[in-house]
C-alpha cells in the first residue's frame, strides 16, 4: 500500500515537472496560435491574444494554467474552437487506447508464442525463420510496414478497407502494423528468457519427476521466462504511443496521436499540454503496473525495499 502511495506522490511530481518544462518549451517556439498567412493586423491579433490571456506576463500565465490544470480544467482549444481540451481528449483517447491494447495483445501473444517455440526447438527451421522475421520486424519502420500491408491486403487481396475507424476490419491492419515491431522484440526477449529458464535446476527436477513438456513449460517455466518481457512492456507502451502517431495519419484514425501532432504544429498550447499530461500519466501508470506485476508473477520479488 505504501508502495502505491509512494508512486502516486512521484507521479504528481513528475507531472508537475513535465508541465513546467512543456509550458516554457512551447512558448519559446516561434509563432503563436493566431498566426496565419493572411496577416490580420495588430488590433485583431491583440484581441485574440486578450481573449486567451496571452497578453499577460509569462509567469502569470504559467501560474493560472497550473492552477486550472490542477483542478482538472484543461481549458478550450485554440484551434478546434468548438471543443474543450477535455472533450477532444475524451474522444481521441478511447480510439488510441483500443488501438494500443490490440497492438499490445497481438505483440504479446505472437511474440511470446514465437519466442517460446523458438527456444524449445532451438536451431530448427522454425527457430531460424522466426528469428529472421523478428530481426526484420525490428528493423523495418512501422509506416513502411503499413504501406506494404496496404498494398498487399487492401488493394491486392482486398481483405481490409484502406482507412477509417469503426468496424472490426478497420482496426486489424493498423493494430498489426503497430504491434509488429514489438512482437518481434518480444519474441527475441522471450526466447532468451526461455532458454535461460530451461537450463535451471528446478526445470530439470520437474522433467525428472515425469511431467510432460507442456506442463513444464506452461506451469513452471513460462512465468520466469516472461520476466524480461514484462519489464519490456513499459517501454513498449511508450513505443506504441509514439508509433501510433504515424499510423493514425496513414490510416486516418481519430486518435490522440493525430490531435497531439496537429496541436504542436498549430501551436495549440492548451491541447498540446493536455495530451502531454495524459501521455505522462499513461506511461507512469504502465510502469507502475509493470512493477506491481513483478510481485504477481515472480514470488521472489518484494515491492517494498524493507527486505
Amino acid at each position: 500500500m505504501t508502495f502505491l502511495v509512494n508512486r502516486l506522490v512521484w507521479m504528481v511530481i513528475t507531472l508537475w515537472i513535465v508541465f513546467t518544462v512543456s509550458f516554457f518549451l512551447m512558448r519559446s517556439v516561434p509563432g503563436g496560435p493566431f498566426h496565419s498567412e493572411r496577416n490580420v493586423g495588430p488590433e485583431v491579433e491583440r484581441n485574440l491574444n486578450a481573449r486567451f490571456h496571452l497578453n499577460d506576463p509569462l509567469h502569470k500565465q504559467y501560474w493560472d494554467h497550473l492552477v486550472r490544470t490542477a483542478m482538472l480544467d484543461f481549458g478550450p482549444c485554440y484551434k478546434l474552437m468548438d471543443f474543450t481540451v477535455a472533450e477532444v481528449i475524451a474522444q481521441g483517447f478511447p480510439v488510441s487506447a483500443s488501438l494500443g491494447i490490440f497492438a499490445l495483445v497481438f505483440a504479446f501473444s505472437l511474440g511470446v508464442t514465437a519466442g517460446v517455440v523458438s527456444a524449445l526447438y532451438r536451431h530448427s527451421w522454425m527457430d531460424r525463420s522466426f528469428m529472421t522475421a523478428a530481426t526484420v520486424g525490428i528493423a523495418v519502420p512501422n509506416f513502411v510496414l503499413a504501406s506494404l500491408s496496404i498494398m498487399v491486403f487492401v488493394f491486392q487481396l482486398q481483405w481490409f478497407p484502406a482507412a477509417g475507424w469503426g468496424t472490426l476490419k478497420q482496426i486489424i491492419l493498423p493494430a498489426l502494423c503497430l504491434g509488429a515491431p514489438f512482437a518481434a522484440y518480444i519474441a527475441r526477449l522471450s526466447r532468451t528468457g526461455m532458454l535461460e529458464v530451461m537450463g535451471q535446476d528446478y526445470i530439470r527436477t520437474a522433467f525428472a519427476k515425469g511431467l510432460s513438456q507442456r506442463q513444464v513449460v506452461v506451469r513452471h517455466a513460462l512465468r520466469a521466462a516472461l520476466l524480461p518481457v514484462v519489464s519490456y512492456l513499459g517501454p513498449a507502451t511508450a513505443g506504441i504511443l509514439t508509433g501510433s502517431l504515424v499510423l493514425e495519419r496513414i490510416f486516418a484514425l481519430p486518435g490522440m496521436g493525430s490531435h497531439f501532432i496537429e496541436a504542436a504544429l498549430q501551436r495549440d498550447y492548451l491541447l498540446a499540454m493536455g495530451t502531454v499530461l495524459v501521455y505522462t500519466c499513461l506511461l507512469f501508470l504502465m510502469n507502475t503496473l509493470v512493477d506491481l506485476s513483478y510481485s504477481v508473477i515472480d514470488p521472489r520479488v518484494k515491492l517494498t525495499s524493507k527486505s
Binding site: 485583431v44 474552437m81 474522444q91 483500443s98 490490440f102 468496424t167 472490426l168
Partner: protein, 646 residues
C-alpha cells in the same frame, strides 16, 4: 492478496481486450451516408465569423446561408455566380454605394422562426465586434462605411460612442452583451506612456495592457425606445476597462467597463430598415459586393441561440439554430461530420442528398487510398507524385484556379534591392519547364500576378524566359557573369512539392545566371509564416487564393505596408492607382486602372509569379452536379448521386 491478483491477472487482461474490441466496433453501427467526401483538415469551428479556411467553408455553406449564395450559372455551370438566397432581390442606389436587400418571406431558421433583417444586422455587428476578432474582417471593413472604425475600436474625442458596462451575464462571452450606454466622448486620459522593450512580443503585450488602462470621459445621453437624444445634454461619467487606470490622479469615481466602441448605429453603414429590408452603405462602388455577401464569413447566426448558449456551446448539434440546406447530425473530431438534410430550408425540394459525410483526412496518400478503395465519392487532394498517372483517368477533374504560386523578394536586402537583379531572376526562370516536367497537372506558367479567367480583366504580361537578356541585366546591375553575387536563400514551408519546385528553381538560376551560392531552406508552417511576416528571408515561396472573382483581391496585397505585403516594396503610384480603382464607377475604366497598377508591379518585380494553380478533384462517375470552376467551390446542395450507377 497477491494470490488472487495473480490468478485474476489473465482475466483482467482479457476483460480489457473485450472492452477495447467492443469500443472499436461501436462506431460501425451507424448507417452509411448517401455521399462521402474528404474535407481535408478538421475544421476549426462552424461559426462563420471566426474561421478562414476552405474546409470550414464547405461545412458552413451547407449549414448556414447568406443574403446571396454562390451557385452554378444555369447556362454555364463552370461559372459560379451569386444568386438570391436569404434575400430574394436587392436594389442598388444611383451612386452604386447603397445596397438594399429584400429578405425572402419563406426564409426561416431551423427552430421555425423567420429570418429577419435584424438577424443580419446583429450578425454583421457581431462579425465586426473586436472581441470576436474575425480574421476575415476585411470582407466588411474594407468596404462598408465605418466598419473599420468599429472593428478597430478607434474612438476619438467628439465621436458618438457606446460604452458596455461590466454587467454581462457571463463575463467571458461577448454576447449577450452587458448594458450599453450611448454617449459622446469628451476626453481620453491615456496616462504616462510606458517604456517599450525592443522585443516585439513583450512590446505588444505591454502596449495592450497600457491601452486597457486608458480612462474615457463620456457624456452619456438618454435613450428611450431605441432613440438616443444626441442633441440633449447628458451626464458625464468616467470609465476604464481595467481595475487599475494608468492615471492615478483622478478625483472622480471611475466605473469599470468592458469596451468603449464607436456607436454602431451612428457609425457603421449597416442597418435593418424593417423586418424584411436590410441596408448596407459602402465607401465606394464595389462591383463584387454580391460575391462578398455570398461568401461564408457574412452568413448570419441566430441571435437567440448564441445568446442563450454562448460560444462554443451554441455550435453543438443539439443546440445549433441554422438556416442552411443541411444540419449537423453528429461530429467526430478528426473522423467525420455527418450532415443531414434540413426539411425547413426554403429550397429543400432542390436538395437531393439526404445524408453526407465530410471526412477529415490529412494525408493525401490516405485520401487517394480511400478513394481507390471505394470508401469516398470525392477526394480533394492527391499526392503530387501520382498526378502523371491519375491525369489519364476519367474521374480526375482538374481546372484552372483563381490562385497563384509566386516567390517574394525581400527588396530591403541587397542584391534584391536592385530591380534589375529581380527582373534578371524572373527572366532566368523557365516556368514552362517547371510546369510541364515537374508539376504535370496542367498548371500554366504565370506571367502576371492575377490569374486569367476573371471577367473583363486581361492581366498585363511580364517578360518571358530569356537567358541572354537575364545575363545582360545582371551585368548591368554590377554582377557580370554572376561574379560577386551574394548568397541567395530560398525559404519555403515544409512540403515535398515546394521542395521539388525550389530545387528546380535553384538549379535554373545557378545554370542560367552562373550564380554559385544559392541555398534552399524549409521551415514548418508557423515558423515560416513568422519569418515571412517579419521579413526575415531573402526569397520566400508564397501562394495566394482569390477571395472573390476580381483582380483587387490579388493586387490589394502589395500596397505600401499592407499586412500581406511582407516584401518591403512600396510604390506611391501603385498605392494611388489601387485607391483610385476603388472609387471608379465605370467597370471598364476600373479594370484599366487596375491593369496599370499590375503593370507597375510586374515592372518593378517585388514578386516573381511562377505558375497558376489548377484545382484537383477526383470524383466518382455516379456523382452528378459537380462542375469544375475557378474558385474550386462545390456547394454540397447542388450535388446528387445517380443510384443506378452507384
Amino acid at each position: 492478496m497477491s494470490w488472487s491478483l495473480r490468478d485474476l491477472f489473465p482475466y483482467i487482461a482479457a476483460a480489457a481486450c473485450v472492452a477495447a474490441l467492443s469500443y472499436a466496433i461501436s462506431f460501425g453501427t451507424i448507417p452509411r451516408a448517401d455521399f462521402t467526401f474528404i474535407n481535408g483538415t478538421e475544421i476549426q469551428s462552424i461559426d462563420p465569423s471566426v474561421v478562414t479556411g476552405v474546409p470550414e467553408g464547405r461545412i458552413i455553406a451547407s449549414v448556414f446561408e447568406g443574403l446571396y449564395r454562390l451557385a452554378p450559372n444555369p447556362d454555364d455551370p463552370s461559372v459560379l455566380e451569386p444568386q438570391p438566397a436569404m434575400a430574394e432581390k436587392h436594389e442598388i442606389s444611383q451612386d452604386r454605394r447603397t445596397y438594399t436587400f429584400h429578405l425572402r418571406p419563406s426564409a426561416n431558421w431551423s427552430d421555425g422562426s423567420a429570418v429577419t433583417a435584424d438577424d443580419f444586422a446583429w450578425s454583421w455587428r457581431r462579425f465586426l465586434h473586436p472581441e470576436i476578432a474575425a480574421r476575415y474582417h476585411y470582407q466588411l471593413t474594407d468596404y462598408v462605411v465605418g466598419a473599420a472604425k468599429f472593428n478597430s475600436g478607434d474612438v476619438q474625442v467628439g465621436d458618438r460612442v457606446e460604452v458596455e458596462l461590466r454587467d454581462r451575464l457571463n463575463p467571458d462571452q461577448p454576447f449577450p452583451s452587458g448594458t450599453i450606454l450611448p454617449g459622446v466622448l469628451e476626453e481620453i486620459i491615456t496616462g504616462p506612456v510606458p517604456e517599450f522593450d525592443d522585443d516585439d512580443d513583450t512590446r505588444k503585450k505591454a502596449d495592450a495592457r497600457w491601452r486597457d488602462g486608458w480612462v474615457f470621459r463620456v457624456q452619456i445621453k438618454s435613450e428611450k425606445d431605441g432613440v438616443v437624444a444626441w442633441d440633449e445634454p447628458g451626464t458625464t461619467y468616467t470609465f476604464c476597462r481595467s481595475d487599475r487606470p494608468n492615471s492615478t490622479s483622478l478625483s472622480e469615481k471611475v466605473r469599470s467597463c468592458h469596451l468603449v466602441l464607436p456607436h454602431f448605429a451612428e457609425t457603421v453603414g449597416i442597418r435593418a430598415i424593417d423586418d424584411r429590408r436590410f441596408q448596407v452603405q459602402l465607401k465606394n462602388p464595389t462591383p463584387y459586393f454580391l460575391d462578398l455577401a455570398a461568401f461564408y464569413p457574412l452568413f448570419p447566426v441566430n441571435r437567440r441561440c448564441v445568446e442563450k448558449y454562448g460560444y462554443p456551446n451554441w455550435t453543438r448539434p443539439e443546440n445549433i439554430v441554422h438556416n442552411g440546406p443541411y444540419k449537423i447530425e453528429f461530429r467526430r473530431i478528426r473522423d467525420r461530420i455527418r450532415l443531414k438534410k434540413n426539411p425547413l430550408y426554403w429550397n429543400a425540394d432542390s436538395v437531393r442528398l439526404n445524408r453526407i459525410d465530410a471526412m477529415a483526412v490529412q494525408s493525401s496518400t490516405t485520401q487517394l487510398n480511400m478513394y481507390m478503395n471505394g470508401l469516398v465519392d470525392w477526394a480533394t487532394d492527391v499526392p503530387q507524385s501520382m498526378i502523371p498517372e491519375l491525369v489519364k483517368r476519367e474521374d480526375f477533374i482538374s481546372a484552372p484556379m483563381l490562385s497563384t504560386y509566386f516567390y517574394r523578394f525581400n527588396v530591403d536586402r541587397p542584391p534584391l534591392d536592385n530591380s534589375k537583379v529581380r527582373q534578371a531572376l524572373n527572366l532566368a526562370l523557365n516556368k514552362r519547364e517547371l510546369c510541364e516536367q515537374v508539376l504535370r497537372a496542367g498548371q500554366q506558367p504565370a506571367r502576371s500576378l492575377c490569374p486569367p479567367g476573371m471577367a473583363l480583366y486581361r492581366p498585363p504580361q511580364c517578360e518571358t524566359y530569356d537567358v541572354e537578356k537575364a545575363r545582360q541585366l545582371l551585368s548591368e546591375a554590377g554582377y557580370p557573369g554572376g561574379k560577386g553575387f551574394p548568397r541567395l536563400e530560398i525559404l519555403y514551408n515544409s512540403s515535398d512539392n515546394h521542395r521539388i519546385i525550389a530545387e528546380v528553381i535553384q538549379q535554373q538560376w545557378q545554370q542560367n545566371l552562373s550564380i554559385a551560392d544559392i541555398d534552399i531552406t524549409n521551415r514548418e508552417w508557423n515558423s515560416y509564416l513568422e519569418d515571412v511576416q517579419q521579413q526575415q528571408y531573402v526569397v520566400a515561396r508564397a501562394g495566394w487564393v482569390g477571395d472573390y472573382n476580381d483582380p483587387n483581391t490579388f493586387l490589394d496585397m502589395f500596397v505600401s505596408d499592407g499586412p500581406n505585403n511582407n516584401t518591403g516594396w512600396s510604390n506611391a503610384k501603385y498605392d494611388q492607382l489601387i485607391d483610385q480603382a476603388k472609387s471608379a464607377a465605370n467597370p471598364n475604366q476600373r479594370m484599366s486602372i487596375l491593369r496599370d497598377a499590375e503593370a507597375i508591379l510586374l515592372e518593378d518585380m517585388p514578386i516573381v509569379p511562377i505558375y497558376f494553380y489548377v484545382s484537383i478533384n477526383m470524383v466518382r462517375p455516379h456523382v452528378k452536379g459537380f462542375h469544375a470552376n475557378i474558385q474550386d467551390l462545390h456547394p454540397l446542395q447542388f450535388l446528387q448521386v445517380d443510384k443506378v450507377l452507384h
